[in-house]
Structure formats: structure tokens, C-alpha cells
Subunit: 378 residues, 2 copies
Amino acid sequence: MSSFSFELLAGDGAARTGILHTGRGDVRTPAFMPVGTVGSVKAMLPQSVRETGADIILGNTYHLMLRPGAERVARLGGLHKFCGWERPILTDSGGFQVMSLSKLRKITDEGVHFQSHIDGASHFLSPERAMEIQRLLGSDIQMVLDECPAFGGTEDVIERSLALSMRWASRSRQAFGEQPGTGCFGIVQGGTFPHLRERSAAALKEIGFHGYAVGGLAVGESQSMMFQTLEFTVPHLPADRPRYLMGVGKPDDIVGGVLRGIDMFDCVLPTRSGRNAQAFTWDGTINLRNARHAEDPGPLDPDCRCPACRQFSRAYLHHAVKAGEIIASMLLTWHNLTFYQDLMAGLRSAIARGDVQAFAQAFKARYGSRSTVDDSQS
Amino acid sequence: MSSFSFELLAGDGAARTGILHTGRGDVRTPAFMPVGTVGSVKAMLPQSVRETGADIILGNTYHLMLRPGAERVARLGGLHKFCGWERPILTDSGGFQVMSLSKLRKITDEGVHFQSHIDGASHFLSPERAMEIQRLLGSDIQMVLDECPAFGGTEDVIERSLALSMRWASRSRQAFGEQPGTGCFGIVQGGTFPHLRERSAAALKEIGFHGYAVGGLAVGESQSMMFQTLEFTVPHLPADRPRYLMGVGKPDDIVGGVLRGIDMFDCVLPTRSGRNAQAFTWDGTINLRNARHAEDPGPLDPDCRCPACRQFSRAYLHHAVKAGEIIASMLLTWHNLTFYQDLMAGLRSAIARGDVQAFAQAFKARYGSRSTVDDSQS
């Protein structure tokens, strides 16, 4: 089994491209990780996810610990075998979903007591248990347990939460120990306060992780505030370790994140949108429910290599959406994941060529969404 | 384009195997046609349907005339291009669904006035319009419009309905005209009354069709009554034309139908069951929702070649069903259609070898369901 390491291939401004080596294979960065919440990237077979170009998927510890349960997955041979995906899997710690989905949470220094959103059963998640679950699942990249404060907290609230998260990070790292081929990532918190982000990064570096995530973003703040936060946070992270922006995001968020030195992303947007008639294209987003597609014989995106675009018309996709056919979710999810992976491939190539700013500007001009290019850097 | 013709390869008792040649390719018989109600075999991509072994699929005229509409499909290049299936498609006439799904039906000799179950809009379906719709869709096998009386009608009711259906059959056949490579099938009605079935078959033969369907079964009668009806109906059908048992059925219904000389079948059972956690195996049906599968590392069916059985455990399928994941519908539909196609392939081989009775008895012994072997013939 190859050891867990990060190989930087090229840089372009703050952006970089590289390869994350894991015991279950390589991940080309910048990477987008499709979300396989409960052991399935929704509406996709694993081989189809791979065909989109994904090197790694994400599993949610919170969901998997509740159903089917970590010990059960371990008895069945681990998450990879269970869900039919033999390449790398990153698991979150469960903290974010505990905060957002569960009922009757009670947080102490020891951990979090909560009730399942499925059946109300009582559960306990500590840093040690979060790491144990991820080890039982057989995750290749395991995230520390952290507290995820709501957006808009006062400095005092964020500071106290950060202190707890850093104590949990230390305990998580200790519980992780050493697992050949597998990495443990810390998570920088600190809201939108520069000195707290710096303090968090320093504490995590002191502990020492295989990679560093930026948490507490994509929780309701503006894109410019997210980008600002990256600008004053990323420079405090070790250059030789992968950087992961959790839960992000829209295509233009990702382009902006890459320009600011982020290597890894995950988001439910391409899959969730695919189940909701929304398609991403190089010319912006399209709602297939719209009646203007009803007689359009053309493809969703003429530049796309996915089955939805190669084999079907917009008229068919519109019809399938309107009729509530499962194939609409299948095809639009496949398309959206292909778009995201092609975007990442385009970014990787542009960085390697040294013209990622031009790529980002061309993307912005055509995609036509919110600002994706960092004007402050040009 | 090759002409529409039926080539008998071998017979074994009443059972036979052959090839139905159409302008869009061959159909090996006995054949099972997956149902693609509104332009999609639910939860399957067209290439996956083909991978199960299907030579032909069925489209529902009623659903397609309401949404997206036959003229629209024609403008978009026909149903095959629209739904991404280039092989043969059989369409029903819409009559059955008009009777079972629509609102405020009014039947006259001219045709049926009804309201859409989707939006209440008024529509009219006559024999001529039913054939026009099927021609607009580009169907390879077009069914005559008939009236489908409810199960349990008195002889008088069935006889009057039959008379109407035969007048409609004549008008349907005339409206079909001649379409190279395409076939028009008549539908034998007459309930469970031998003399009415015989009269219906004679009337249809007099008109002359490319194939003959047995309608008005699988509407609530017992399996033995269905088999009896086949026994006194099939001998009145031309031996050199394909025979199609509409809307049937369970695996053991199909085995019994083949033993009685049926060549073609369609049913929503494998697809609908697949979306409802039910799997067909050689050892009978399995409900994946059952907790006994929760930790079963074995495949759904060790003898099956489908992705559900090759790549996943029963434990995973159980989990996906419980979690409401779309992949459960995708995998179980794929499995069920594979099972049905493998059953048809087994029947075809057995007939060619001349031991279809042994095949049917072995199937019954293992599948363990209702009687599938015609004891009256052994």
C-alpha cells in the first residue's frame, strides 16, 4: 500500500495542481468530491461516478453511523466494498450534520449527545468515537470532529467554539494514530475573523495533520466574504499539505477557491440539483422544467461527453422531468457531475500551463454568474 | 428495411420459438417486453435495458398522447430517437389505460371521449386516431383499439363489448394500411367464454393481421382461468403469426403462457417491483426490505449476471431500500429485468432442445410459486 502523501506538480499564483497519493489510489487536485451521503452518490452507479472523472467520493459519518451503522459496515468488509467504490473515500466527522440535522443536541467538552433525525434514538459522538467510526468505515481521509457554529456568531461565541474545536482536533489526531495509506485532516475554524483563523491554523499545525480543511464557510456568508476569509486563512496553512474547502460549492465558488490555493472541494449541489431539474453548463445553469425546452431537439450541452448530452435532447429531459421519471434524476446528476469534473480537469490543465487567470476569466465571461475571478489579485 | 415477418424455428408441444423480423431489428421469441410507459423503462437507461437482453420494449399510447403528445414526438423524430432506444417498440392502442386511468369516459361507436388523469383536459380516441398516434410515434408493432371490459362481466356485456371491439379492429386495420417493416396486431376479446373467444379470433383472422394478441386477461381472474382461456383461444389463432398475451405477468404466468403457445409478453411487474424492494430470483421472490438481509454479505442471486448481483450484497440493497436511495430502484429494476430476460432465454433454449416441459417443471420446483406447468397436458 502506498503511503499517504501530497505531490505538488505546478503552481500558478496561489493556485496549484498536484496528486494526493493514498493507499487506495491517486487523487488529482484540484479535486471535486461527489457526495455519497449514505453509501450512494444519489441516482448514480459507482462505475458511472468514476466515468465522470471522479477520483474520490465523500461519505457522511453522521448518516452512516445511524444507518446502517459503522460496526455493521465494518463487519461487511468496510465502506468501499459495501458501496462498490474501490477508490479513495473521504469521510467527514459527523459534526456538521449533528449540528444541522439531529434533535436535542447537548454539547459538552467530552462530545455531543444527540437524537437521530430518523428514529429519535440517542447517540453520542466524541472526537474519539468520530475517529473510531471513520476507521471502522475504512475511510482514506478522516476528518477531525469539530464544532460548527452558525454563521453570524459574535467574536466571543466563535472564539469559545474554536477553543473547543481545537481541543477536539488534538484528541481526534491522537485517536487517529498512524494508519498507513490513510490521512487525517484538521479543520480550521474561526468564522470570518482573521486573527481567529490564524490562531486555529497555528494550533492545527502544532498538532500536525496530513491535510488542512477550511471549515465554517458555505454556511450563508456572501461569496466575497468567503473569498476574503480564504485570502487571510490559506497563507497560514502549510504549503506542502492539501487544503480542503468543505461544502463548496457553486462552479464559480470553486474557481475562486482554486485561485486562492484550495485543492479539494465537496458539495451536494451537482447531485441535488440533478434531482431538481437543474443542469450546469458552460453557459450557466438551466432549468429543464422550463417550457422553452419542450420542443428543443438539441443537446443539453453540445460540449459535454455525458450520456444525457450524447443520447438525449433537451425536449426529452424536459419531458422526463415533467413526467417525474427517475431517468431525469439519473441523467441530470450524471451530467452535473461530468460538468464539475470537467471543470476541475480544465482548472488542473490551466494551472499546469500557467494560465489559470485566463481560464477563470474565460469561465466567468461564458458562465456569466457571480464574480469568480479575484480582482484584488489582478 | 427488412419486411415484417415471423420465422418459426422450433416447436415443443404447443410452445414455440422463433424470430420476429421488423424494420428495426429482430425479436427473439418467446419475448418479454419491458414497459417504457412514458418513454422510459423506469429507473433504467436504454443501453442498460438492452444489456438485460431485451430486444423490444413497449410504449403506452395513452400516456404518450397526453404527454408529451404524439405530434410533438413526431416533430422530434419519433419515439425511438426521443427515448434513445433504436430497436423495436410495440405500442398499445391506449384503450386499456383510457378505461383504467382516465376520468369521465364516454364510449360511442365512433370512439372514446375522456379526460386526462393529469390535467383533466378533454381528449378523443377513435380507432383511426389510435393508429395515427402510433404511426406518429413510429411504433414497430401497432395495436388495434379495443374496448377492455372489466373482469366478471356477464356474457351479454362481454358479447356486446366484443362486437364493438371487432368493428374497431376492422377500422384500425384499415387505418394502419401498409407500413413496410411494421406490423399491426389484432386483439382477441371475449372474456372467459370459449365461443366468444372463437368468434373474436375468427373475425380478426378474416380482417387479417401481422400478429394476434390475447386481451382481456390479467384483469383479476385466477391463473387457472387464464390458462384455460389460453387453451381454448390459442388453437383458433394462425400458427404462422406471433401471439401476444397482453399485460402478463408473473414468471410462472409466463412459463404457463409459453407452454400454451404464447410468443410475446409485457408486464410492469419487474420494473414496478424493482421500485418496491421486490426481487425475482430462481428461488422465488425476495423482499429486500426484510431485516434478515441487513447483514447478509451474499449476493441477491448468485446465478445472476446483473450489476446488483455482481457488485453488491443483499446487505447493501437492504440498506439502500431502507434509506430510500434511488440506487435501490435502479439496481432492483436492472436485476428483475435481467431475471425476466434470462427466463425467456431459458425458455427459448428449452423449446429448441425439445424439453420445455422439463424446464418448466424444474422452474416450478425451484421457484416454488403457483402451478406453472400445465398438468392437463402432461
